[in-house]
């Protein structure tokens, strides 16, 4: 008896899912949005959002015009960080910075070569465009490093002449693990997956339920022997499949365009994603209970999924540097925890022992959203 009941229940769930997939396959526009949107976002984010500063435009005001000064300039522009724009007069410096012709201007004093060899202190002036704070800091670090390097060479030469050699007692040897070339796309990809998945799931499921409300078909379902949980499970299954396909597309695109591979366990990646999706779909169902029209559902859905994922999840802005109050607020989005899991799995290849807390939180989050969602849904129907 009980087995028969369960079997019938499963058949009804299957009927709902099948219907949902058929409707979706006919909605070409929706399909396009669902599957092309992630690729578009990934490429835009991958190429456009780049924290690396390369090809800084520099202009040089060489007042010395000696072989030493030319040497110095060459050593700068031979790296990929600097591009020489022009040699300029000192008076043109304003113009170059104002019109954004150069981001940094190097002024080499008249007595540069003379002072270097007479054991005197030389001062090189760097004028850096400080409008973009982050970039300016990076430029400063680059020129510092380059200048330090030159100083070292000069000192070395000097010491060699008196029969000594240069010796630095402590040397720094930084190695960047998990992202050796400090590629920011690699850092962004987990957040991007999280953001796209939550956005697509919240919006698709809420639209699908609200459309039934608008069409009046929901009445027909309510009056049948279909239970609320059967309906919701039947609705969720197709969108989980879609979201997984999406995650796959993003990973493949990430591999093709940005050479990003999965370092850790594939199984745990699936499990984390499944839990994250349940939480997102639960949020989508809640949206569908609140919203009565497709437009409202789309707006609320986008708002609650996109904004927190973008701003509060640690996707772009590190949570550690936020004020304490805001840090508490970051817990409202499951994306925060999913991103931590993804970074561990994708980039570090770390085991479950490093992200079980995040996983646990996501499980709690999805259970509570799904419970609230089905309760709200059932209540609204009364």
């Amino acid at each position: 008896m009980k087995i028969k009941k369960i079997r019938n229940s499963l058949k009804r769930i299957k009927a709902i899912s099948k219907k949902e997939i058929r409707e979706l396959l006919r909605d070409k526009r929706m399909l396009g949005v669902i599957f092309l949107f992630p690729i578009f976002l990934l490429i835009v984010f991958g190429y456009a959002i780049n924290f690396d500063v390369k090809n800084v435009k520099i202009a040089v005001c060489d007042l010395d015009k000696s072989s030493e000064s030319i040497n110095f300039i060459n050593s700068l522009i031979s790296s990929e960080y600097f591009d020489l724009v022009n040699f300029i007069q000192y008076g043109d410096a304003d113009k170059y910075l104002d019109q954004n012709l150069a981001q940094c201007i190097i002024v080499i004093p008249k007595d540069f070569s003379h002072k270097i060899y007479s054991n005197d202190l030389v001062q090189i002036q760097y004028l850096i465009d400080g409008v973009q704070g982050n970039t300016a800091t990076l430029i400063m670090n680059y020129v510092n490093a380059a200048t330090l390097n030159l100083s070292k060479q000069v000192t070395n030469k000097f010491l060699l002449r008196i029969g000594r050699s240069y010796f630095v007692p402590i040397q720094i040897e930084p190695r960047f693990w998990f992202n050796p070339d400090l590629n920011s796309t690699r850092f962004l990809l987990p957040g991007l997956i999280g953001m796209i998945l939550i956005l697509v799931s919240v919006v698709t499921i809420s639209l699908s339920i609200v459309r039934e409300k608008e069409m009046g078909t929901i009445e027909q379902l309510n009056v049948s022997s279909l239970s609320v949980s059967e309906l919701l499970i039947g609705k969720i299954i197709p969108y989980i499949i879609i979201a997984f396909t999406n995650a796959g597309i993003i990973l493949i695109t990430g591999y093709i365009f940005f050479d990003i591979t999965i370092k850790g366990s594939f199984i745990w990646l699936l499990i984390c994603t499944l839990i994250f999706l349940s939480a997102s779909l639960g949020m989508g169902i809640i949206v569908s209970v609140i919203a009565d029209s497709l437009q409202v559902a789309f707006q609320i859905g986008t708002l609650i999924s996109l904004l927190p994922s973008l701003l509060l999840s640690g996707f772009i802005f590190p949570i550690e540097s936020m004020p304490k109050v805001i840090q508490v607020f970051t817990n409202i989005t499951p994306t925060k925890f999913y991103i931590k899991c993804l970074r561990s799995i994708l980039l570090k290849g770390a085991g479950i022992e490093f992200y079980w807390e995040q996983l646990l939180y996501m499980i709690l989050f999805s259970i509570s959203t799904l419970l609230i969602a089905s309760k709200l849904y059932a209540k609204k129907m009364k």
Partner: protein
């Protein structure tokens, strides 16, 4: 045998009472008409009887099950077709049938049989692959009705099934309703087309959530209007209406197309009183008629409004 028994059913939305202390019975196998203006409380009552809306107070037994205690059992025994057209427009005919069939627990062979039946009653045999959105409204309604009874319920609720359908399809649709009824299915239908009410075995008229009349069409016509009613064929109707309204033997005057219906009262001693009054007007004919349901309802509603004013 009653297939539906309603006891003092009431539904309040905040301070607004949509259905006010309504009681009635529906006999097994009959076509039961539920009449009233838009917003009178018809749909709310139907939705409560279907078990999708909880009543504020009162109870009803539908197919023997209480809508308060076991709405899920109620749902198993009923079919429902709502006011809003409720098929999936982006599915084909066949896919709609399969979907609703499975939702109601039909699979395999029984689903296949039912599919054939639905295709037949909706004239869609050979058009299974058409998208539902491309069908004319009348056909869609037949398909929707077919799907509402696909699981062979004992009772089916039709909420304004014929609104927006042209007269020929409406007649046609009623043939299908009669067919269901002859198979022993109880049909509860709401409508605001009064000529459709004539097809019902029993009718209740509801206004502002209250029942104001009930009975079969014949009873309604005789029980609620006691005095003669006349039909006047004429050219300048507005003139005559104005003139008649002032008379003390006239209860109500209403316009039916080009004709005027006059409900008289006990002050009218003989028909000549009217003839004399209208002798100088351009009147083609005056005849005594049996009231239509429309006469009855207009009469009842006006009487109710007057009572409320007093």
């Amino acid at each position: 045998m009653n297939s539906i028994e309603v006891f003092e059913l009431t539904k309040k939305f905040g301070s607004f009472t949509a259905v006010d202390n309504v009681s009635f019975n529906v006999k097994e196998g009959e076509i039961f008409g539920f009449l009233g203006a838009n917003g009178a409380g018809k749909s709310t009552t139907i939705r409560m009887l279907c078990g999708i809306l909880e009543p504020t107070s009162g109870d009803a037994f539908v197919g023997g099950y209480s809508i308060v205690k076991s709405p899920d059992k109620v749902k198993l025994n009923i079919g429902y077709m709502s006011q809003k057209f409720s098929l999936y427009n982006d599915l084909t005919v066949e896919e709609n049938i399969e979907f609703f069939g499975s939702i109601y627990g039909l699979f395999g062979k029984s689903l296949k049989q039912k599919k054939e039946w639905v295709l037949e009653v909706s004239y869609l045999r050979g058009k299974e692959k058409l998208l539902t959105s491309s069908l004319p409204t009348g056909i869609k309604q037949r398909l929707a009705l077919g799907l509402a009874v696909i699981h062979k319920p004992k009772i089916v609720f039709l909420d304004e099934p014929t609104s927006g359908v042209d007269p020929i399809f409406r007649r046609n649709f009623w043939d299908l309703i009669n067919e269901l009824s002859s198979e022993g299915i109880t049909v509860i239908v709401t409508t605001h087309y009064l000529e459709e009410a004539e097809y019902c075995n029993d009718i209740i008229l509801i206004d502002s959530g209250k029942i104001i009349a009930q009975g079969n069409p014949k009873q309604l016509k005789t029980n609620y209007i006691h005095h003669p009613i006349f039909e006047i064929q004429c050219e300048n109707a507005t003139d005559i209406i104005e003139c008649l309204e002032k008379q003390n033997f006239v209860d109500e005057v209403s316009l039916f197309g080009n004709n005027i219906h006059v409900i008289t009262n006990s002050n009218l001693k003989e028909i000549n009183q009217i003839l004399e009054l209208l002798s100088d007007k351009n009147v083609k004919s005056i005849s005594k008629i049996t009231p239509t349901l429309e006469d009855v309802f207009i009469h009842l509603l006006e009487k109710k409004n007057e009572n409320q004013k007093n």
